[in-house]
C-alpha cells in the first residue's frame, strides 16, 4: 500500500531525505472565477482539495480597533505545486471566500510571498474581500481579469477604478485555462514580490 521510494538513509532520527524549500503563492477570488482552473493549468499534480479553517469576522463590526466576534468555518481549498528544482518548490493555494467582507485567511496565507486576485468582470464585487485582505496584510499582489471566452466586460481602467487599487498594483488580463497565461500572471506577482524584497 505504501510506495517504496528509494531512500537516502540518514542517521537515526534524521530525515531520510531533505525536503525542498516551499514557496507559497495564494490565488484568491470569488467562487467559480477560475482559481482551480488556473492552479490546474500549471500545477504538476492534479489540484488537491482539503478543508481549511476560515475565521470569519461577524458582519456588522466596523470598528477594527475592537476585537470583532469571530466564527470559524471550514471551506474547501484547492492547491497544486510546481517543482522548480530538487531544493525549491512553488505551491499554489486557491483560497475561497468572496461573499463575506471580513474573513481572515491567515491559516492559508501565512508566509505567502504574494497573491493573485482573479476577477470576473461580470462580478467585480466578488473580489473586493481578497483585494482588501492583501492590501491590509501588505502582501504583494496582482489583479488578473479572467477572460472567459476571450471576453472582458470592462476595460482594465474601469476595473482599476472600480476596485480602487493603487497604480502600483499590476492589473492584467489572462486566461485561466492557458498554462502560459497563468505562468505569466504568476510571474507578475513574483516580480512584485521581488521588488518588495529588494526595497
Amino acid at each position: 500500500m505504501t510506495p517504496t521510494e528509494p531512500l537516502v538513509r540518514a542517521s537515526a532520527g534524521q530525515s531520510a531525505v531533505r525536503p525542498p524549500l516551499p514557496v507559497k503563492l495564494v490565488i484568491a477570488g470569488g467562487f467559480g472565477v477560475g482559481k482551480t482552473t488556473a492552479v490546474g493549468s500549471i500545477s504538476e499534480i492534479e489540484p488537491l482539495t482539503t478543508e481549511a479553517a476560515i475565521t470569519e469576522v461577524a458582519a456588522g463590526v466596523d470598528d477594527l480597533s475592537h476585537t470583532p466576534r469571530k466564527t470559524t468555518t471550514t471551506v474547501a481549498m484547492d492547491f497544486g505545486c510546481i517543482t522548480i528544482d530538487p531544493t525549491l518548490k512553488l505551491y499554489l493555494f486557491g483560497t475561497p471566500g468572496q461573499e463575506r467582507f471580513g474573513f481572515m485567511w491567515d491559516d492559508i496565507v501565512e508566509g505567502a510571498v504574494g497573491g493573485l486576485v482573479i476577477v470576473d468582470t461580470r462580478r467585480l464585487d466578488d473580489c473586493y474581500a481578497a483585494v482588501d485582505y492583501f492590501e491590509h496584510k501588505q502582501i504583494p499582489f496582482a489583479v488578473a481579469v479572467n477572460a472567459f471566452d476571450g471576453q472582458v466586460a470592462h476595460t482594465l481602467e474601469d476595473v482599476r477604478w472600480a476596485l480602487d487599487v493603487s497604480d502600483g498594483v499590476p492589473l492584467l488580463v489572462f486566461d485561466a485555462r492557458e498554462r502560459g497565461s497563468v505562468r505569466d500572471a504568476l510571474l507578475v506577482v513574483l516580480e512584485q514580490a521581488l521588488a518588495r524584497s529588494e526595497r
Partner: protein, 147 residues
C-alpha cells in the same frame, strides 16, 4: 449574487472533489487536541500549510508499530510532503495533521520543516522561482496550432 451564473471552466466546480472527510472522529485521532487556526502547534511554532513533513529513519523503522493515521503519515512522508498534501491525500483535517505531525516529531519519527519566511522571501530565492517558472512552456505536451 445570483447563482446559476457560474461560468464554465471555472474554479471549484471544475475539479472532482476528493470526497468529504470521514464524518466520524476528525479530532478523535488527536484525542480531542486541536491546533490553532493559524497552525499554532503545541511547541508554539506555527505550521503553515506548505510546511514540509519528512519521515525520519526512526519513523520508518517504527512503521510496524505505528497505527492508523500516524502510520499513514509517516509512510506517506517517505517522500517529503506538505501538510496540505497530507491532509488532502489522507483526507484529514489540516489541524489534525498539524497535531499528529507535532506528536510524531516529538517522538522522533517525523521531521517538520517549517519554512523560514525570511528565506522564502529572499530576493535570491524569488529569482530562482522566477527563472524556473519562465522555463515552463506554454502548453504541457500539447502542440499549439500556431508558431
Amino acid at each position: 449574487m445570483a447563482d446559476g451564473r457560474t461560468p464554465r471552466g471555472a474554479g471549484e466546480d471544475g475539479v472532482a472533489p476528493v470526497g468529504p472527510a470521514p464524518a466520524v472522529r476528525p479530532f478523535l485521532v488527536t484525542a480531542g487536541r486541536v491546533a490553532g487556526g493559524s497552525g499554532e502547534a503545541s511547541s508554539g511554532r506555527s505550521m503553515p500549510v506548505e510546511t514540509q513533513l519528512v519521515a525520519t529513519t526512526d519513523g520508518i523503522d517504527a512503521l510496524d508499530r505505528l497505527s492508523f493515521e500516524q502510520h499513514d503519515i509517516v509512510a506517506a512522508c517517505r517522500v517529503p510532503q506538505s501538510i496540505a498534501e497530507i491532509a488532502a491525500r489522507l483526507r484529514l483535517h489540516l489541524n489534525v495533521v498539524r497535531v499528529l505531525a507535532e506528536d510524531l516529531r516529538t517522538a522522533g519519527q517525523l521531521s517538520v520543516h517549517v519554512p523560514d519566511s525570511g528565506v522564502t522571501h529572499d530576493a535570491s530565492v524569488l529569482r530562482r522561482v522566477i527563472d524556473g517558472l519562465r522555463a515552463i512552456p506554454d502548453s504541457r505536451g500539447v502542440l499549439r496550432d500556431t508558431d
